[in-house]
Protein backbone atom coordinates (compact mmCIF):
# COMPACT_ATOMS: atom_id res chain seq x y z
CA UNK A 1 0.00 0.00 0.00
CA UNK A 2 1.48 3.30 -1.01
CA UNK A 3 1.23 6.31 1.23
CA UNK A 4 -1.30 8.95 0.31
CA UNK A 5 0.90 12.02 0.63
CA UNK A 6 -1.90 14.45 0.04
CA UNK A 7 -3.83 13.00 2.96
CA UNK A 8 -0.61 13.03 5.00
CA UNK A 9 -0.21 16.77 4.36
CA UNK A 10 -3.84 17.46 5.18
CA UNK A 11 -3.63 15.45 8.40
CA UNK A 12 -0.43 17.26 9.42
CA UNK A 13 -1.97 20.68 8.82
CA UNK A 14 -5.02 19.61 10.80
CA UNK A 15 -2.85 18.91 13.83
CA UNK A 16 -3.23 21.78 16.33
CA UNK A 17 0.39 21.56 17.51
CA UNK A 18 1.66 22.25 14.01
CA UNK A 19 1.88 25.81 12.72
CA UNK A 20 2.66 24.86 9.13
CA UNK A 21 4.36 22.51 6.76
CA UNK A 22 7.65 23.81 5.42
CA UNK A 23 9.88 23.15 2.47
CA UNK A 24 13.00 23.21 4.64
CA UNK A 25 15.71 25.81 4.58
CA UNK A 26 15.86 25.89 0.80
CA UNK A 27 12.21 25.17 0.18
CA UNK A 28 12.94 22.06 -1.83
CA UNK A 29 11.19 19.53 0.39
CA UNK A 30 8.00 18.71 -1.46
CA UNK A 31 6.27 16.13 -3.54
CA UNK A 32 6.29 17.32 -7.12
CA UNK A 33 3.13 16.52 -8.98
CA UNK A 34 1.95 17.62 -12.41
CA UNK A 35 0.85 21.22 -12.03
CA UNK A 36 1.35 21.52 -8.29
CA UNK A 37 3.37 20.43 -5.34
CA UNK A 38 2.78 19.27 -1.79
CA UNK A 39 5.16 21.32 0.32
CA UNK A 40 6.87 19.66 3.27
CA UNK A 41 5.91 16.07 2.55
CA UNK A 42 7.85 13.55 0.51
CA UNK A 43 8.67 9.88 0.36
CA UNK A 44 12.34 9.01 0.42
CA UNK A 45 13.81 5.51 0.64
CA UNK A 46 10.66 3.95 2.01
CA UNK A 47 10.12 6.67 4.61
CA UNK A 48 7.50 9.36 4.60
CA UNK A 49 9.14 12.63 5.61
CA UNK A 50 7.02 15.35 7.14
CA UNK A 51 8.77 18.70 7.59
CA UNK A 52 6.95 21.01 9.94
CA UNK A 53 7.03 24.27 11.85
CA UNK A 54 5.96 23.53 15.41
CA UNK A 55 4.10 25.83 17.72
CA UNK A 56 5.83 27.18 20.80
CA UNK A 57 4.93 25.61 24.12
CA UNK A 58 4.62 21.86 23.67
CA UNK A 59 7.62 19.56 24.02
CA UNK A 60 8.71 18.61 20.53
CA UNK A 61 8.84 14.84 21.08
CA UNK A 62 5.20 15.09 22.08
CA UNK A 63 4.46 17.18 19.00
CA UNK A 64 6.15 14.52 16.89
CA UNK A 65 4.18 11.73 18.57
CA UNK A 66 0.87 13.48 18.04
CA UNK A 67 1.76 14.32 14.45
CA UNK A 68 2.92 10.81 13.74
CA UNK A 69 -0.30 9.39 15.18
CA UNK A 70 -2.34 11.76 13.02
CA UNK A 71 -0.39 10.99 9.86
CA UNK A 72 0.20 7.27 10.20
CA UNK A 73 -3.22 6.07 8.98
CA UNK A 74 -2.44 7.70 5.64
CA UNK A 75 1.14 6.49 5.40
CA UNK A 76 0.23 2.99 4.34
CA UNK A 77 2.46 1.26 6.87
CA UNK A 78 5.56 3.21 5.83
CA UNK A 79 7.58 4.68 8.73
CA UNK A 80 7.02 8.39 9.25
CA UNK A 81 10.03 10.63 9.91
CA UNK A 82 9.16 13.96 11.50
CA UNK A 83 11.49 16.91 10.89
CA UNK A 84 10.92 19.93 13.08
CA UNK A 85 12.46 22.60 10.87
CA UNK A 86 11.41 25.65 12.78
CA UNK A 87 9.43 26.76 15.75
CA UNK A 88 6.85 29.50 15.69
CA UNK A 89 7.32 31.94 18.53
CA UNK A 90 4.27 33.78 19.83
CA UNK A 91 5.79 37.00 18.43
CA UNK A 92 6.01 35.40 14.98
CA UNK A 93 2.32 34.74 15.09
CA UNK A 94 1.53 38.30 16.05
CA UNK A 95 3.77 39.61 13.30
CA UNK A 96 2.20 37.28 10.75
CA UNK A 97 -1.23 38.61 11.69
CA UNK A 98 -0.23 42.20 10.98
CA UNK A 99 -0.26 43.19 7.31
CA UNK A 100 3.25 43.65 5.96
CA UNK A 101 2.93 47.41 5.30
CA UNK A 102 2.15 48.33 8.90
CA UNK A 103 5.14 46.48 10.31
CA UNK A 104 7.62 48.94 8.86
CA UNK A 105 10.13 51.14 10.59
CA UNK A 106 10.66 52.09 14.16
Amino acid sequence: MTPNLEAVAAAALGCPLIADLTGGRFGEVATYLPGRRITGVREVDGTVEVHVVARWGTPLPEVADVLRAAVEPHAGGVPVAVFVEDIELPADRIRAAIPEATVATP
Binding site: R25, F83, T105
Partner: protein, 265 residues
Protein backbone atom coordinates in the same frame (compact mmCIF):
# COMPACT_ATOMS: atom_id res chain seq x y z
CA UNK B 1 23.67 55.30 19.88
CA UNK B 2 23.65 51.57 20.31
CA UNK B 3 25.05 50.77 16.90
CA UNK B 4 27.93 53.17 17.23
CA UNK B 5 29.02 51.83 20.58
CA UNK B 6 28.62 48.25 19.42
CA UNK B 7 30.70 48.97 16.39
CA UNK B 8 33.33 50.68 18.45
CA UNK B 9 33.35 47.73 20.82
CA UNK B 10 33.77 45.41 17.91
CA UNK B 11 36.52 47.26 16.14
CA UNK B 12 38.62 47.90 19.17
CA UNK B 13 37.93 44.49 20.57
CA UNK B 14 37.43 46.01 23.99
CA UNK B 15 33.82 45.89 24.97
CA UNK B 16 34.57 45.36 28.65
CA UNK B 17 35.24 41.71 28.06
CA UNK B 18 34.34 39.64 31.06
CA UNK B 19 34.42 36.06 30.01
CA UNK B 20 32.69 33.89 32.58
CA UNK B 21 34.08 30.81 31.04
CA UNK B 22 37.43 31.86 32.45
CA UNK B 23 38.64 31.31 35.95
CA UNK B 24 41.78 30.70 37.94
CA UNK B 25 43.01 27.16 37.96
CA UNK B 26 42.81 26.71 41.72
CA UNK B 27 39.03 26.36 41.70
CA UNK B 28 39.32 23.51 39.27
CA UNK B 29 41.09 21.32 41.78
CA UNK B 30 38.59 22.25 44.43
CA UNK B 31 36.06 19.74 43.32
CA UNK B 32 36.34 16.09 42.53
CA UNK B 33 33.30 16.59 40.37
CA UNK B 34 34.96 18.86 37.91
CA UNK B 35 37.07 17.79 34.99
CA UNK B 36 38.94 19.68 32.40
CA UNK B 37 36.71 20.28 29.42
CA UNK B 38 39.48 19.34 27.04
CA UNK B 39 39.28 15.77 28.27
CA UNK B 40 36.48 13.79 26.79
CA UNK B 41 34.61 11.87 29.47
CA UNK B 42 35.61 8.25 29.51
CA UNK B 43 32.15 6.91 28.76
CA UNK B 44 31.90 8.89 25.63
CA UNK B 45 34.06 6.47 23.65
CA UNK B 46 31.51 3.72 24.27
CA UNK B 47 28.72 6.08 23.44
CA UNK B 48 30.22 7.06 20.12
CA UNK B 49 30.25 3.51 18.93
CA UNK B 50 26.69 2.96 20.07
CA UNK B 51 24.24 2.50 17.24
CA UNK B 52 21.98 5.10 18.76
CA UNK B 53 24.17 7.91 17.57
CA UNK B 54 25.90 10.52 19.64
CA UNK B 55 27.45 13.86 19.08
CA UNK B 56 30.81 13.81 17.39
CA UNK B 57 33.87 14.06 19.65
CA UNK B 58 34.12 17.48 21.11
CA UNK B 59 36.85 19.28 19.25
CA UNK B 60 34.92 22.39 20.17
CA UNK B 61 36.31 22.38 23.67
CA UNK B 62 39.75 23.38 22.62
CA UNK B 63 39.13 26.96 21.61
CA UNK B 64 40.77 28.83 24.43
CA UNK B 65 40.51 32.60 24.31
CA UNK B 66 43.88 34.30 24.18
CA UNK B 67 46.17 33.78 27.12
CA UNK B 68 43.53 32.80 29.60
CA UNK B 69 42.30 29.54 30.86
CA UNK B 70 39.10 27.92 29.83
CA UNK B 71 37.00 26.95 32.72
CA UNK B 72 33.68 25.69 31.80
CA UNK B 73 34.35 22.87 34.15
CA UNK B 74 31.91 20.04 34.09
CA UNK B 75 29.68 18.86 36.85
CA UNK B 76 28.06 15.51 36.80
CA UNK B 77 24.38 15.33 36.35
CA UNK B 78 21.53 12.94 35.75
CA UNK B 79 21.18 10.64 32.82
CA UNK B 80 18.55 10.39 30.21
CA UNK B 81 18.11 7.59 27.80
CA UNK B 82 18.21 3.92 28.64
CA UNK B 83 21.55 3.32 26.95
CA UNK B 84 23.17 5.44 29.61
CA UNK B 85 21.54 3.62 32.44
CA UNK B 86 24.60 1.53 33.17
CA UNK B 87 26.75 4.63 33.44
CA UNK B 88 26.95 6.29 36.80
CA UNK B 89 25.76 9.85 36.34
CA UNK B 90 26.10 10.26 32.63
CA UNK B 91 25.48 13.79 31.44
CA UNK B 92 27.76 16.73 31.70
CA UNK B 93 26.98 20.33 32.00
CA UNK B 94 29.07 23.45 31.95
CA UNK B 95 29.59 24.95 35.34
CA UNK B 96 30.63 28.44 36.11
CA UNK B 97 32.79 29.30 39.05
CA UNK B 98 33.41 32.79 40.25
CA UNK B 99 37.07 33.63 40.28
CA UNK B 100 36.54 34.96 43.77
CA UNK B 101 37.02 33.73 47.30
CA UNK B 102 37.70 30.11 48.13
CA UNK B 103 34.74 30.10 50.44
CA UNK B 104 32.50 30.84 47.53
CA UNK B 105 34.05 28.04 45.56
CA UNK B 106 33.48 25.61 48.38
CA UNK B 107 29.89 26.73 48.55
CA UNK B 108 29.57 25.95 44.90
CA UNK B 109 31.08 22.52 45.27
CA UNK B 110 28.49 21.77 47.93
CA UNK B 111 25.80 22.99 45.59
CA UNK B 112 27.18 20.83 42.82
CA UNK B 113 27.10 17.77 45.06
CA UNK B 114 23.56 18.53 46.13
CA UNK B 115 22.70 18.86 42.48
CA UNK B 116 24.22 15.48 41.67
CA UNK B 117 22.17 13.71 44.30
CA UNK B 118 19.07 15.58 43.19
CA UNK B 119 19.72 14.57 39.61
CA UNK B 120 20.31 10.98 40.64
CA UNK B 121 16.86 10.98 42.19
CA UNK B 122 15.38 12.33 39.01
CA UNK B 123 17.07 9.75 36.85
CA UNK B 124 14.31 7.21 37.15
CA UNK B 125 11.68 9.69 36.06
CA UNK B 126 13.93 10.84 33.23
CA UNK B 127 14.18 7.33 31.87
CA UNK B 128 10.48 6.79 32.23
CA UNK B 129 9.87 10.08 30.48
CA UNK B 130 12.24 9.15 27.69
CA UNK B 131 10.06 6.24 26.65
CA UNK B 132 7.17 8.57 25.87
CA UNK B 133 9.25 11.34 24.37
CA UNK B 134 12.01 9.52 22.55
CA UNK B 135 13.20 11.10 19.33
CA UNK B 136 14.10 7.78 17.75
CA UNK B 137 11.08 5.51 17.70
CA UNK B 138 10.13 2.27 16.05
CA UNK B 139 7.69 4.12 13.82
CA UNK B 140 10.24 6.59 12.52
CA UNK B 141 12.72 9.23 13.48
CA UNK B 142 12.16 12.77 14.75
CA UNK B 143 14.76 15.33 13.74
CA UNK B 144 14.96 18.75 15.27
CA UNK B 145 16.67 21.41 13.19
CA UNK B 146 19.54 23.40 14.68
CA UNK B 147 17.65 26.62 14.20
CA UNK B 148 14.87 25.33 16.44
CA UNK B 149 17.30 24.64 19.25
CA UNK B 150 18.94 28.03 18.64
CA UNK B 151 15.63 29.83 18.83
CA UNK B 152 14.61 28.12 22.05
CA UNK B 153 18.00 28.82 23.62
CA UNK B 154 17.81 32.46 22.51
CA UNK B 155 14.37 32.96 24.00
CA UNK B 156 15.35 31.13 27.19
CA UNK B 157 18.47 33.26 27.67
CA UNK B 158 16.56 36.48 27.08
CA UNK B 159 13.99 35.47 29.66
CA UNK B 160 16.56 35.81 32.43
CA UNK B 161 16.64 39.20 34.04
CA UNK B 162 20.02 40.85 33.90
CA UNK B 163 20.54 39.82 30.28
CA UNK B 164 20.47 42.96 28.19
CA UNK B 165 21.22 41.72 24.70
CA UNK B 166 22.60 38.74 22.84
CA UNK B 167 25.49 38.38 20.44
CA UNK B 168 29.05 39.46 19.93
CA UNK B 169 30.01 42.96 18.83
CA UNK B 170 29.73 42.37 15.09
CA UNK B 171 26.46 40.49 15.26
CA UNK B 172 24.99 43.14 17.53
CA UNK B 173 26.04 45.94 15.22
CA UNK B 174 24.61 44.21 12.17
CA UNK B 175 21.54 43.19 14.14
CA UNK B 176 20.89 46.82 15.00
CA UNK B 177 21.19 47.80 11.37
CA UNK B 178 18.98 44.92 10.25
CA UNK B 179 16.26 45.85 12.68
CA UNK B 180 16.19 49.35 11.22
CA UNK B 181 15.64 48.09 7.69
CA UNK B 182 11.90 48.04 7.06
CA UNK B 183 11.92 45.40 4.32
CA UNK B 184 10.63 42.14 5.74
CA UNK B 185 10.94 43.65 9.21
CA UNK B 186 11.99 40.65 11.17
CA UNK B 187 12.17 42.17 14.62
CA UNK B 188 14.89 40.97 16.96
CA UNK B 189 16.57 37.87 15.67
CA UNK B 190 16.12 35.28 18.38
CA UNK B 191 19.05 33.19 17.26
CA UNK B 192 21.57 36.01 17.54
CA UNK B 193 24.37 35.15 19.94
CA UNK B 194 23.52 31.48 20.07
CA UNK B 195 25.50 28.66 18.52
CA UNK B 196 24.45 25.07 18.86
CA UNK B 197 25.63 21.64 17.94
CA UNK B 198 22.83 19.15 17.78
CA UNK B 199 23.19 15.41 17.58
CA UNK B 200 20.48 12.82 17.52
CA UNK B 201 20.08 12.83 21.29
CA UNK B 202 22.27 15.60 22.64
CA UNK B 203 22.90 19.28 22.16
CA UNK B 204 25.71 21.61 23.18
CA UNK B 205 25.16 25.34 23.27
CA UNK B 206 27.36 28.44 23.23
CA UNK B 207 25.81 31.73 24.23
CA UNK B 208 27.22 35.24 23.86
CA UNK B 209 25.48 37.93 25.78
CA UNK B 210 25.64 41.41 27.22
CA UNK B 211 24.66 41.81 30.85
CA UNK B 212 23.27 44.84 32.57
CA UNK B 213 25.57 46.80 34.83
CA UNK B 214 25.29 45.92 38.49
CA UNK B 215 24.32 42.27 38.24
CA UNK B 216 26.35 39.37 39.52
CA UNK B 217 27.73 37.94 36.32
CA UNK B 218 28.29 34.39 37.64
CA UNK B 219 24.74 34.33 38.98
CA UNK B 220 23.26 35.58 35.74
CA UNK B 221 25.38 33.12 33.75
CA UNK B 222 24.23 30.26 35.93
CA UNK B 223 20.62 31.39 35.70
CA UNK B 224 20.92 31.57 31.91
CA UNK B 225 22.48 28.12 31.86
CA UNK B 226 19.78 26.62 34.06
CA UNK B 227 16.96 28.19 32.08
CA UNK B 228 18.41 27.19 28.73
CA UNK B 229 18.99 23.61 29.85
CA UNK B 230 15.52 23.34 31.31
CA UNK B 231 13.82 24.81 28.26
CA UNK B 232 15.74 22.75 25.73
CA UNK B 233 15.43 19.50 27.61
CA UNK B 234 11.72 20.04 28.19
CA UNK B 235 10.90 21.22 24.73
CA UNK B 236 13.12 19.13 22.51
CA UNK B 237 13.83 16.02 24.56
CA UNK B 238 17.51 16.50 23.75
CA UNK B 239 20.01 16.12 26.54
CA UNK B 240 22.07 19.27 26.96
CA UNK B 241 25.69 18.34 27.51
CA UNK B 242 26.97 21.85 28.11
CA UNK B 243 26.07 25.49 27.95
CA UNK B 244 29.03 27.82 27.61
CA UNK B 245 28.11 31.36 28.48
CA UNK B 246 30.41 34.15 27.46
CA UNK B 247 29.70 37.66 28.59
CA UNK B 248 31.00 40.04 25.96
CA UNK B 249 29.98 43.37 27.33
CA UNK B 250 28.32 45.21 30.15
CA UNK B 251 25.44 47.48 29.33
CA UNK B 252 25.88 50.71 31.23
CA UNK B 253 22.47 52.17 30.49
CA UNK B 254 21.58 55.31 28.63
CA UNK B 255 23.43 54.01 25.57
CA UNK B 256 20.26 53.57 23.57
CA UNK B 257 18.66 56.89 24.46
CA UNK B 258 17.93 59.09 21.47
CA UNK B 259 20.76 61.46 20.58
CA UNK B 260 20.45 65.01 21.76
CA UNK B 261 19.02 67.38 19.16
CA UNK B 262 21.74 69.32 17.39
CA UNK B 263 22.40 72.71 18.82
CA UNK B 264 22.63 74.21 15.37
CA UNK B 265 19.67 73.77 13.03
Amino acid sequence: MGSTSSLAGFFFGLGGVTDVTLMPSRSKSASALTTSPTLAPSWRTDAETSPLGWRAPAARHVHVPSGRELVSSMSMRGIEGPNLANQPDGGLRGEVSPGGADGKTRQQVTNARAEVSLMAQQTTTDIRGAEGGALVTGQGRTSIADSVVEKIAGVAAREVSGVHEMGRGAARAFGTIKEKIPVGASGPNMTQGVKVEVGERQAAIDIDLVVEYGVSIPDVAQAVRDNVIQRIERMTGLEVTEVNVSVDDVYLGGDDSPPEPPRVQ
